[in-house]
């Protein structure tokens, strides 16, 4: 058998030409010397790919990569049955493994993945966890009702539920004017963009928490959602007492439709993982968890994007736009957009198109 030798090619770091093939006493060493050029070339290509991605590889090398990889794997298979040279075998095993990581590595970079994600991947992942979204929605509505009822029965609950920093003048017994003032607008936009940035990193952290807690049997996710919504219920009760329910809803709807939707999705993604681990069906638990985890991760990237949108809405339109109808219009439009995007926008996936 005569192997194709590309011994004329020597890259960087190539120190010396391999010794003369005929001088080797052993057949297995001659086998190695005949193919060594290919191995070294593959080694060099793989090293450059590990170093700086595909851009630094010329076309000829890129075309040769699969062939060289298969040459190396077949060399390894033959060497295992004919050679007792441990150093060569160890080198080949390492080389094939490194080349395998590159040849069967990530097919798409982050930019391409992001494009695919925005054009269908995200909404598909959201639709796939619809059952968990329903459960999370039920829990959140229940949480808001519980918050309302608790505070309605005993005002002391209000102080337990609502953190002090948030509720400065918004306490039970506050006058209608005081409450209305908290729903007011700022005169100008200065200071609001940094407010938005802080809101964003704070809210995204809460969402990531809601998702990640799902792993711990989903219960912390649910508790977090119930607590958040109980605060909302308590606020609603407070403003309803002064006949400001519509104004508060409008004020909240500007960013709340996005933010609460995001928390809903994050909690649902967390629940999805827990559900997959608790009821894996016919799959092994680890496989089920990994599938659910990847789906959840897609939803979570989307949630972070929603949090960016929500922070902008919270900082600018909510603080600048006056009047319940205008606020409702903004919030409603955004909500309609999300619902359309998630449930009506159904492009075929690129995998289906390719297949």
């Amino acid at each position: 058998m005569k192997a194709p030798i590309i011994s004329s090619w020597f890259g960087r770091g190539q120190l010396a030409a391999p010794p003369d093939i005929a001088s080797a006493a052993l057949r297995s060493d001659r086998f190695r010397l005949e193919r060594e050029g290919d191995w070294r070339r593959l080694d060099d290509i793989v090293k450059r790919m590990e170093g700086g991605g595909l851009r630094r590889i010329c076309d000829a090398d890129l075309l040769a990569l699969p062939t060289l990889y298969r040459t190396a794997t077949s060399s390894l298979a033959v060497a295992r049955e004919t050679s007792l040279d441990a150093a060569t075998l160890a080198y080949l095993e390492a080389l094939v493994q490194r080349a395998w990581f590159q040849v069967y590595g990530p097919r798409q970079g982050f930019a391409r993945w992001m494009r695919e994600f925005l054009l269908g991947g995200w909404s598909r992942a959201v639709r796939e966890i619809w059952l968990d979204i329903c459960i999370a929605l039920f829990v959140m509505v229940a949480g808001a009702i519980v918050g309302w009822l608790l505070v309605a029965q005993d005002e002391a609950w209000y102080y337990r539920l609502v953190p002090g920093g948030l509720a400065d003048t918004r306490v039970p017994g506050a006058s209608r004017e005081e409450l209305l003032a908290t729903l007011g607008t700022n005169a100008s936009a200065t200071g609001l963009s940094s407010f938005a940035a802080q809101l964003f990193s704070n809210n995204s952290a809460v969402c990531i928490l809601a998702f990640a807690l799902g792993f711990a049997f989903g219960i912390p996710s649910l508790m977090l959602m119930v607590h958040n919504m109980a605060v909302l219920g308590a606020l609603l009760w407070l403003f309803a007492g002064q006949g400001l329910l519509v104004e508060l809803s409008a004020w909240l709807s500007v960013h709340g439709t996005t933010e609460i939707f995001g928390i809903l999705l994050a909690g649902a993604a967390g629940l999805h993982i827990w559900r997959a681990m608790a009821f894996p069906g016919t799959r092994p638990v680890l496989v089920a968890a990994a599938e659910a985890g990847r789906r959840g991760a897609v939803v979570m990237v989307g949630v972070v994007i929603m949090m960016i949108v929500a922070a902008f809405l919270e900082a600018f339109p909510r603080q600048l736009v006056e009047g319940a109808p205008n606020r409702f219009m903004i919030g409603g439009t955004i909500l309609a957009f999300w619902l359309t995007y998630f449930f009506l926008y159904r492009p075929r996936s690129s995998v289906e198109r390719d297949g």
Binding site: L26, D29, A87, A297
Partner: protein, 312 residues
């Protein structure tokens, strides 16, 4: 399967990966120590990087104030606000971006992982997808950093107000311990993020192609000792005492052992095959013995006869 491969199979961290070509590749799971080391390195890089960035921002902010006679209200509002936004966003994007971008690259490893020689791979030999990398990195927060920060806050709160934190501290400690010890309670040393993402962390193989042994010295086809010019020839019976395991031990010795170690090996082999051990020409003797033993064993191997070690 050769002896070295079999040795590694008995290692608790060794796993086998079947490539689509049907080749069984041995892979080695990363040790828990090297993973912890990689994480510590990464966190240190992020923290020091952010500190340097913040220091730069404060320096710029100081410049803004200086122009106005150190009166914050007179400083340009837009510039101040811009710095604040940078401050808030830099932390978030550094924290998540650092791990995501690097683990999605062709190395599959962050800087810390590269230094400790490990990388992320999909469990079971599939492709490493962006979703998997995102999932494993989101989970890291609740595994380690959320409980750590919560514990820190609790500690500061209790020292400030002398208030009793009560059972919450214990709950947080338990939480922290549960996830920290998670890798010790499964076979593949997976942390919670690895389970959810379907990944594991493996050692990055680094092997240089060693020299060919049978082209030089007394191991070559017509090779003779450079010192004495003697040519060693071993008979069938003399070569039959050793197997593959001993051959590969001898190979390792020839590649990187000290002369006095070679002397000891030389004496042992001579005693075993009944030769009178000489002195001064050990290396040539061992090279010739190695080449002839390997030629014999490889010849038998081609006919399907294998001799694992001297006992078989």
């Amino acid at each position: 399967m050769n002896a070295a491969l079999r040795n590694r199979m008995t290692d608790k961290r060794a796993r086998t990966l079947i490539t689509p070509e049907g080749i069984a590749l041995p892979i080695m799971l990363a040790s828990r120590g090297s993973r912890a080391g990689a994480l510590i390195l990464d966190v240190m890089i992020i923290v020091f990087g952010l500190l340097a960035f913040y220091a730069l921002l404060f320096w710029i902010a100081g410049g803004l104030l200086k122009g106005t006679g150190l009166d914050p209200s007179a400083a340009p509002r837009g510039a101040q606000e811009f710095l604040q936004i940078l401050l808030a966003l830099a932390g978030f994007f550094t924290w998540y971006g650092y791990f995501l971008v690097q683990e999605l690259g062709s190395r599959g490893a962050t800087l810390g992982k590269r230094i400790t020689g490990i990388r992320v791979a999909a469990r079971g030999g599939g492709r490493l997808t962006p979703e998997a990398v995102i999932a494993r990195n989101l989970l890291r927060d609740i595994e380690i950093f959320y409980p750590l920060i919560a514990l820190l806050v609790l500690a500061v709160m209790s020292s400030d107000s002398n208030a009793d934190v009560g059972p919450l501290g214990w709950v947080m400690t338990g939480w922290f311990a549960l996830f920290l010890l998670f890798p010790f309670f499964n076979r593949d040393a997976l942390r919670a993020g690895d389970i959810v993402a379907g990944t594991w962390v493996v050692e990055r193989p680094r092997a240089k192609l060693a020299d060919v042994l049978s082209t030089k010295g007394a191991a070559a086809a017509q090779g003779a000792s450079e010192l004495t010019g003697a040519r060693y020839q071993f008979g069938e019976a003399e070569l039959a005492v050793y197997g593959e395991k001993e051959l590969q031990t001898l190979e390792r010795m020839l590649r990187d052992a000290q002369p006095d170690a070679l002397t000891a090996v030389h004496a042992t082999i001579c005693r075993k095959i009944g030769w009178e051990p000489g002195a001064g020409d050990e290396r040539a003797f061992l090279e010739a013995f190695y080449a002839q033993l390997r030629a014999k064993l490889e010849g038998e191997m081609r006919f399907g006869k294998r001799k694992a070690d001297k006992f078989s």
